[in-house]
């Protein structure tokens, strides 16, 4: 995405753009949510990275050992080094089930699953295809996590999935969260909790997991609360890449300390961060990275010209929330404004309704896969949706 943006602004004679990625495939991560329910196939989710590299940009497929900020060098795992004038870190976040005792134990991918990896989502799909029912816990280990609404969406889709299979009465669904409610923002929490009640889904809040008891199939929290399960779908602790730890500049979860308004790292002025790899207090959502890209491009050009950086990133996030039965909600928020009701992207018109269930929003979510592969990765601006959040058309009190 950044390579696509910058390529248009930087002269070929002066700059070379290199992307280093250890994988050969790019995954459409939002698709993991649909894989367990047989709504997407693996082909919908995975494409070769090569297809998305713009002309004139070099792709190196290799592992990084560490970043040496004082020498402006990236040390590769094979012992070679690559020097840089400007470095953009976009290493994302990944799950770390080993952070909780017993999570990756004997029941891992037998009755304990994640859906934040391709392998996890696929194993869960195979499990759900012939699961006969019982107690299903959908569980968040600790915040922050990528796409904080995904566990709720999973819960709603599970409700809808079991209804279609005519076995909803055989499944008891409980949403287990370390937060005090369904979501992190009060207005959206109200709406979402209402939906949980409507769908006969129980909620266990303020649950801080201590360990998974594989023998008795329970999860236990620090306060001694014990919840039994037949099927545990958990979102393990999310962490930044271990490169940061090896390089000596990550925080306690390996996220890169970053200025939340300029996206410049606090490690060194010529290092910038985009997406989940940073520690900024925005949602770890793909839409955030998309909005960041526009501001980051401007700031990198300012940096090159020795000009002051724009302090304009507002934490804008825009997320569809699948609520099952072919409907979805849409939320739009930033650092200071929580999601509220309204219309999007045109004030008073829509066509999308904020914080209200509708089929149109669901269509939006499905169309988003096309937008992702064909527009977002290529750095194409999405019409009518700006990097800075608009307050018009929203019902703030």
């Amino acid at each position: 995405m950044m390579a696509n943006h910058l390529k248009h602004h930087l002269k070929k004679e002066d700059w070379s753009i290199v992307i280093i990625d250890e994988r050969e495939e790019h995954h459409y991560q939002p698709g993991y949510l649909f894989l367990p329910f047989d709504m997407y196939t693996p082909d919908d989710i995975i494409k070769p990275i090569k297809e998305f590299i713009p002309k004139g940009v070099e792709l190196i497929t290799a592992k990084i050992d560490r970043i040496a900020p004082d020498e402006n060098l990236v040390n590769m795992a094979d012992g070679t080094t690559i020097s840089y004038d400007i470095l953009i870190i976009a290493t994302g976040a990944k799950i770390a089930p080993e952070e909780v005792e017993g999570m990756k134990g004997a029941e891992w991918q037998k009755s304990v699953f994640d859906f934040y990896t391709f392998e996890g989502a696929l194993a869960l799909r195979n499990k759900l295809r012939d699961w006969e029912g019982g107690k299903l816990l959908v569980h968040i280990t600790e915040m922050p996590i990528k796409c904080p609404v995904a566990p709720l969406e999973f819960t709603f889709l599970a409700d809808s999935f079991f209804r279609h299979k005519e076995m909803r009465d055989k499944v008891e669904i409980t949403f287990v969260t370390p937060l005090s409610g369904a979501f992190t923002k009060p207005k959206a929490t109200e709406t979402l909790e209402h939906l949980l009640v409507d769908k006969n889904i129980k909620i266990e809040s303020d649950f801080a997991i201590e360990h998974v008891d594989n023998e008795n199939k329970t999860i236990v929290d620090y306060g001694g609360r014990v919840l039994p399960f037949d099927l545990l779908v958990t979102v393990p602790t999310n962490k930044g890449d271990a490169i940061m730890e090896r390089s000596g500049f990550g925080d306690d979860l390996n996220y890169v300390p970053t200025d939340k308004a300029t996206l410049q790292s606090k490690v060194k002025p010529n290092i910038f961060v985009i997406g989940d790899a940073s520690n900024i207090p925005a949602s770890k959502a793909g839409s955030v990275a998309h909005f960041e890209a526009e501001i980051l491009t401007t700031n990198i050009l300012h940096f090159i010209n020795g000009e002051p950086l724009n302090e304009t990133f507002d934490g804008h996030a825009n997320c569809f929330i699948e609520t099952g039965n072919g409907k979805a909600l849409l939320i739009d928020f930033n650092y200071t404004h929580e999601p509220v009701e309204g219309t999007f992207p045109f004030p008073g018109v829509g066509p999308l309704r904020l914080l209200k269930e509708s089929r149109m929003n669901h269509m939006g979510k499905l169309a988003f896969r096309w937008v992702y592969w064909n527009m977002l990765l290529k750095g194409t601006h999405i019409p009518f949706v700006s990097a800075e959040m608009k307050e018009a058309g929203k019902q703030y009190e």
Binding site: E142, M143, D252
Partner: protein, 102 residues
Amino acid sequence: MEKIIAGKSVTVNDEGFMTDFKQWDKEIGDALAKESNIEMTPRHWEVIDYLQTEFKNESPLSIRKIGKSGVVDIKEFYQLFPMAPLKTSSKIAGIPKPASCI
């Protein structure tokens, strides 16, 4: 809004978190603890003191961080401030509700 705690007028938000740390003192902390049915002990105060220091250093708080702080482990943190320890202890400490949840 204004609220009288331990005979003093302090400003709090709708969730009862103090909005001006300068107004905090130990008597207020004690009264806030009673509202959460907690009887403060020297151990409790050590934790509160740690939270306030971190707040003054503008260092964001999380359960994980407190567990690694060396001041208290997570198990004991839950024993001292049952149910939602970070929220409860932050309230008693007179600091904002931790924004670790996004």
